[in-house]
Symmetry: C2
Subunit: 636 residues, 2 copies
């Protein structure tokens, strides 16, 4: 079939219904600042870094090995490694939409050639199954990840179409989707994949092609789940959300990335089919998860053993898992819920997650990454080697590559497409959900032009200026999110009127003229934060936030030989700022005095010395070499 994309605006998610309409990479461009810097590093370093590693560890050669008939012998990497090639292609497609990057165009063309040839005539495409010396197709839906790989292939195909790159891989993706529908349709294999993602991929392909069978298949995968078709596994059926049907689930549980991808697909299905009950179910699950199973950073998934959500209030900061990919998935889900409902709480969580997990994972040079994002590191480990792939278990330090290396590619596609998550439109005007130096140029649904330049030093300072660049002679509304943490925020309209605005959306409706400014002022004072006392691991401790940033103490800022477990703070003393602009808490460093047995009637701190505790943004920790670090600080 020939695909005629309905839009080339570079939007990852294009619902046909819902409260807000997304804008794309050709309508919103990030021009600099906090996120612009990260987009530049992603474009200039990470994309090539990831491609180079995928060649080195054999994941790309696996496709050639299929073509050459030697894959049963030669295949390298985990069973889902195909998906990482697709994620990287998706990232490069969005990068082309963003900048027209020639390296990305050439790389996509090269990869497309070998991937296309590895596809079977019936659309089947996977390097780990179905060839001589390998297990049968679909013989291991629990762990085989074949449908998961298609999901990422289809998402790459969607990105290729919406970025205008097109090419053979888009057709490969459509053939794979047809194969999935032919194989797993209503009268076919009644199974589903141990790792969701195919659901949201198929809905998006439906949105591009109008082919109803893709939507129907996605809906089928969502509704089949939770009926125990998959075999039980060591971690239990809840691990891949097969214990309870999606719409009967009370809270996200099991493997965090799986849970969040599944919920995203369920929202997509709900929006396209008008299934308000399903949408409401996901909204409830999200609210319960945010209230009881989410780290201060927005990180999700507390448990190492199964990369999973724990029970309510199981959120130990030491050895927090908080996988980078779960943060990517959480932002994808929040975006879908925001578009569907318009509620700013979803953008609030996305902001928290972007600044405190997604910005934390990559090193400044974009060539090493945290796989997990703990909130407390007790012991200094070694620096990872720069020349080998690391096990996930070593991921307490940023490493160049992992045996399971989804995170670097998930970051790459997120950074490349980030501008698409900033601003939306509705019948009345435009809504700013995230702040960045950016330009916005679009048309409202009724065709009127609307655009502005957003300028901000955020998150260093709290001024956000929207200067109108395109407008019309009739009134429209410019709205901007005021974060939930913001107290004392002020909005200044084009006529200079000032008003206090509380958390939520603040709006100005006017007949704007080019050059008109709407200005938001946020107070960026550092603030003490306490945790719900039911989070046992945080009792007697406080954290510090400034604007959207979670701060932390790092051993690099302590006297030599002291680590962060000696830190105590006095939360009754207001936080201050030192000459370098860093936030400083008043506190003490306690002595490291051992007992024979650490439990006693009168156990308490040993002696202590008063100290000023310097705090840095959590996202920038471990940039000065191996260090101990903690977000939650015990009180004196």
């Amino acid at each position: 079939m020939t695909i005629v994309p309905d839009d080339l605006t570079g939007r990852p998610v294009v619902p046909s219904a819902g409260r807000l309409r997304p804008l794309g990479l050709r309508e919103v461009r990030i021009t600099g600042g906090f996120w612009g810097d990260r987009q530049s590093v992603n474009a200039s370093a990470t994309l090539e870094h990831n491609l180079s590693w995928e060649r080195r560890v054999g994941w790309i050669d696996n496709f050639a090995a299929v073509v050459d008939g030697r894959v049963g012998r030669d295949r390298r990497g985990r069973e889902f490694s195909d998906s990482d090639v697709y994620k990287l292609i998706e990232a490069m497609a969005w990068e082309v939409a963003r900048t027209g990057d020639a390296f990305a165009v050439a790389s996509i063309e090269e990869l497309a050639k070998v991937i296309e040839r590895a596809q079977e005539p019936d659309g089947y495409l996977n390097t780990a199954f179905g060839h001589p010396g390998q297990a049968e197709r679909y013989s291991d839906l629990e762990w085989g990840h074949e449908l998961y790989c298609y999901g990422h292939l289809i998402q790459a195909g969607v990105a290729l179409l919406r970025s205008g790159v097109g090419g053979p891989l888009a057709d490969v993706a459509v053939r794979a989707a047809d194969h999935v529908c032919n194989t797993f349709g209503p009268s076919g294999n009644q199974g589903y994949c141990g790792h969701p993602v195919i659901e949201m991929a198929l809905v998006e392909l439906y949105r591009i092609t109008g082919e109803r069978r893709y939507l129907d298949q996605a809906a089928l995968f969502v509704s089949r789940r939770g009926n125990g078709v998959l075999a039980d596994v060591e971690f239990g059926r809840g691990y891949f959300q097969d214990d309870v049907p999606v719409r009967d689930t009370e809270v996200f549980h099991g493997h965090a990335v799986r849970a969040l991808y599944l919920a995203s697909g369920a929202v997509d299905v709900a929006v396209e089919t008008g299934d308000t009950a399903l949408l409401a179910a996901i909204e409830r699950q999200w609210a319960a998860t945010v209230a009881r199973r989410t780290y201060l950073t927005g990180g999700m998934g507390a448990r190492h053993a199964d990369e999973a959500f724990g029970d309510d209030f199981f959120l130990p900061p030491d050895r927090a898992y908080s996988e980078t990919c779960a943060a990517v998935a959480s932002v994808q889900l929040a975006w879908r819920l925001l578009l569907a409902t318009g509620s700013p709480k979803y953008a609030d969580l996305a902001e928290r997650t972007l600044y405190n997990v997604i910005a934390t994972s990559p090193a400044d040079d974009g060539r090493s990454f945290f796989y997990v994002n703990t909130l407390h590191r007790r012991a200094i480990g070694g620096l990872p080697a720069s020349d080998r792939a690391h096990p996930r278990a070593e991921s307490g330090v940023r490493a160049p590559w992992f045996d399971v290396s989804c995170c670097p590619n998930n970051l790459a596609r997120t950074f490349a497409s980030l501008a698409a998550y900033l601003v939306t439109a509705d019948d009345d005007g435009l809504q700013v959900h995230q702040y960045a130096d950016a330009t916005v140029s679009t048309r409202l649904p009724d065709g009127r032009p609307a655009g502005f330049v957003m300028s901000t030093g955020y998150p260093d300072d709290g001024a956000v200026v929207l200067r109108v660049t395109e407008t019309s002679s009739s009134p429209w509304t410019l709205s901007i999110r005021v974060p939930a943490w913001a107290e004392g925020a002020v909005l200044v309209g084009p006529d200079g009127t000032r008003r206090s605005v509380g958390p939520g959306m603040a709006s100005v409706t006017a007949v704007f003229a080019a050059g008109d400014e709407v200005r938001l002022g946020l107070l960026m004072r550092p603030r003490w934060v306490r945790a719900d006392p039911r989070i046992d691991a945080l009792r007697g401790a406080v954290a510090v936030e400034r604007g959207p940033l979670v701060l932390c103490a790092e051993s690099a800022d302590l006297p030599a030989g002291r680590d962060v477990d000696a830190v105590r703070v006095d939360a009754s003393v207001p936080l201050s700022t030192d000459e370098s602009g860093a936030v400083v808490a008043t506190g003490a460093l306690v002595d490291d005095d051992d007992h024979d047995w650490p439990y006693a009637a009168g156990a308490g701190d040993a002696g202590s010395d008063p100290a000023s505790i310097r705090l840095i943004p959590y996202h920038s920790w471990a940039a000065r070499g191996p260090a101990t670090m903690r977000v939650w600080l015990p009180t004196i």
Copy 2:
């Protein structure tokens, strides 16, 4: 070769040097009480339960499959399942020494027949490697567990010899040991096993046979370790203690059972070779581990992902791993260190571990078990099915069997041989390390008879009476441990003199007459316990102990619909006892009031109602059905 055992006293560990001499199962008999009840259940239920499950899941048939040449096709169970058959045989051998149990004798004979025939002519014996359709012998030292299986085979052989059962399996064990020495000797394979245990097994076989090569091989395995011969694994080399040589290690780390078995073997090697530096290294590692990496219950190993010790002070009570087998290993290590040094601190930890981990694992009927022993269970899970083996990950409830089912067999061998861990002798007399209703009848090293009856209601009450039954006309010393937690303890001598005794060993030296009594009185008042503040997860919480028992709150004692996360206690109010004898804390139950986001400037408890909080022994939790439970109680 023909083995002539040097003793039939039923002692699991018989060092040729060291401060104290162990007594065995024919010298010390437990006659009733807390541990006598558990020995009876073990004998009447657990041994047969385990044997029945090992048949059912195919672990015993694997040996027949080797004999029949069908093992490559038919083998069932994990690669180390042979070892569980051996552990069970060891348990049955000690049971024969204890009671002459006919079921055990018959079962051992039956198992011996098939196991003997599965051994290769060169002594190799393993059902998972080396046969048609299987991987080569010793092709996977990291995970293959072949030497681990020999270790348990040899321990079973030692138990058969020391219990007087003997039979062909003892010869099988010796042939296996010879095969190990031939294969892994100084000029042979330079490897070692990913899972230690062979070390202590070989030393014990040396102690029985006098064959120096077994000791030398054990010493070689200990000294080779930590030099990176094993391949790296997902969890890192520290997982199997291959990152640092044993004598350079600072603290136990990695997989807890592996670490503790290795340390036990190192102590055995150190004692037999006079390597005081190695012994001192293990003593230091033990002290650091007890001070910084041990749960209040004595449980070791905090992490689920790799069943491993965490960093110092990483001891979250929720999802504590605290594997039952690690507790068994810890008691084995403590016993070796006690014999070597005489320090009562080792018996203190053993007592804590016995009452709060080892007694916690089995259900009252001895037919289901905790694999892990968490100190805080937040959510009520389902009851495990009684008719299937469960994954370890489901081990938050007692289950009849696990896919990895070391714990039931490790418990069985511990209970069957428990009397051997109570009392020792030295040149001056006898030392009581653990209290139980028991009879002791032995000879001092100089040949004088010495014996007593120990009577106690411990741990329900704190009186321990030692009534001399065998003595001589010259003076000897009767010593008894006063636990580290005991304040205000009193010792009454045979002449009626009372004196206060502090923690440590309290002794009476006298020319005893039969009927003389030495009486220890311990105050059993419940007491509040606090944790070292560096254990972050316990800040702002207290626990309650009574005697050697850690107590806990369980939802079964709360109003319907409330779970233990609502419990708060006032540690400034003394603990009391209700009419049933249960310990009661004054406190409150807080409301379960949700926020949208659980972190805020003023986050605190919702409303609360005053409540009396009933506490039960931790070892008896989950006996009334699925429940939530917590040991550490947040203070008001």
